[in-house]
């Protein structure tokens, strides 16, 4: 059977899976996630996996990396949350070590690719697919293809929605992800509750809001306004048929959906709203599936 290995490389974990040519995961794999900052560990772990997977005749490896990548060369510029990988030619090194084709792109791009081909955005184009978590990642997909970028840009999280605003990890101020990231939500909730209590997460704020708690409702109200304002700009820009929201924060989708839609309607140009769908992401392992699709596409185009 022909299959590819898809790697979803997060800031704090690595998920891997053997994916067949119909986009189904045949086998999920455990990746030792300790010492990810050490390139050697990462490379040796990958070698081990490929050996273990002989039965599958793996035709290539796709990696969704948590940072900025030159997608043509598989060259990593930097990974904001994993130090030690600056300016590293990972693609070249792996191709030599593994002796099979290796392709690297941005993790959020891989999420978007999977959701647009097999997930919530299937058949809907253009689609804007976003993961809402620590940051805001994602990509625009047109007719099933990622918006063409040599560098894995499409850094949607680093589009500003305010002239000043809070300092962002990227060095700028006012980036949308400083408004929608889960740290912001937790901090704002703490502030509103005047509490030093620390044992809560975004899911908790969601549950509190469902129960009608004022502070929690304010947090989600502000979140929705900020996200909606950002999306109105993206709607005016891309005229999408679908906006797909995934990632941890999208657990509160049913709560914030109507609020986000209200801001979108108030701020977008009306012809661009025709038939627009705001949907929750659907796939269980979009990062793995997307990385596999990357390989499939690249090998097909050779």
């Amino acid at each position: 059977m022909k299959a590819v290995l898809g790697i979803d490389w997060g800031g704090t974990y690595i998920k891997a899976g053997v994916v067949n040519y119909r986009g189904k995961i045949e086998k999920k794999l455990t990746f030792t996630s300790k010492n990810l900052r050490q390139k050697e560990v990462f490379i040796q772990e990958l070698k081990r996996l490929i050996k273990e997977l002989k039965e599958f005749s793996i035709s290539g490896v796709g990696i969704g990396a948590p940072g900025i990548v030159d997608t043509k060369k598989g060259f990593i510029y930097y990974l904001p949350n994993v130090r030690g990988w600056e300016n590293y030619p990972l693609g070249r090194v792996l191709r030599k070590e593994l002796k099979i084709p290796v392709f690297i792109d941005n993790d959020a791009n891989m999420f978007a690719l999977a959701e647009s081909r097999f997930g919530a955005a299937k058949g809907l184009s253009p689609a804007i697919c976003l993961t809402l978590g620590t940051g805001l990642g994602g990509a625009v997909v047109i007719d099933g293809e990622l918006l063409n970028t040599e560098i894995s840009a499409q850094e949607l999280g680093h589009v500003p929605i305010a002239l000043a605003g809070q300092k962002c990890a990227c060095g700028s101020r006012g980036c949308i992800e400083t408004y929608t990231g889960n740290k912001r939500l937790l901090r704002r909730y703490k502030q509103l509750k005047s509490t030093k209590h620390k044992n809560f997460d975004v899911e908790y704020i969601f549950q509190r809001a469902l129960k009608g708690e004022r502070a929690a409702l304010i947090v989600w109200g502000e979140f929705s306004f900020h996200l909606g304002k950002f999306l109105s700009g993206m709607i005016n820009l891309f005229n999408p048929k679908a906006i797909i929201l995934g990632g941890g924060v999208s657990g509160a989708f049913k709560l914030f959906k109507p609020l986000v839609l209200k801001t979108i309607k108030e701020n977008s140009m009306w012809p661009n709203l025709k038939g627009l769908k705001l949907l929750k992401a659907k796939l269980n392992n979009p990062g793995i599936i997307g990385s596999a699709l990357l390989v499939k596409d690249k090998l097909a185009s050779v």
Copy 2:
């Protein structure tokens, strides 16, 4: 000779020209610009032109309209500065009246198409081409093709850079064009000078700034910060090789270029800045040439 008729339809004027297949204007034409709000006048005028141009054997008409258009159907949703054209099937009407192919897109898209093929962005992809005037229009062009949109979206001027901000003609607040439009610059200058003097334009503020006048320098400083902040988001999003600035306000390009670049460098993710060029638009009649290219492309793809 095979040629097409390109129409650059602005809010207050219409320019037309016969364009050959190498993108050169063979003949410029005068279009009666009175009563543009009357559809009949527009259509009759176009009929007259086509008759006059028999010698050229016009193979199609391209129109860059100042508003939102369904580019597939040639259907006009609305033109912000020309009333009376809401929901009008101009393409269908013209094809029937003129009996030759007619294609309609957004005027700023046509500017971008021309600048990317024959102007300042030639050979540079992706390119973000902007016209700075009353508003901010433009488009992203990738490998010589407009970013795919069914509706002539790419309303770059209506991406917000502030959560609140001034009310925009589109109904939203904080759109970039409320910060860079010439009315804003004139109003701000007036405010800073505490003058009721009315006889000045953007060119005057440019000249005053060149002479070192404080108020004028502030106007251009603010303009550059706002434009640079917006562009940093677009750079993170599209990873362009070139940003092209045209339109009336770009007359001050040499003054504001270093200021805009400073803000861009401070706010963009560094891998996206590699090799980026900020250039002034180059063509004399990009609207006419772009509209002609639209026809050429569409006829070639049939």
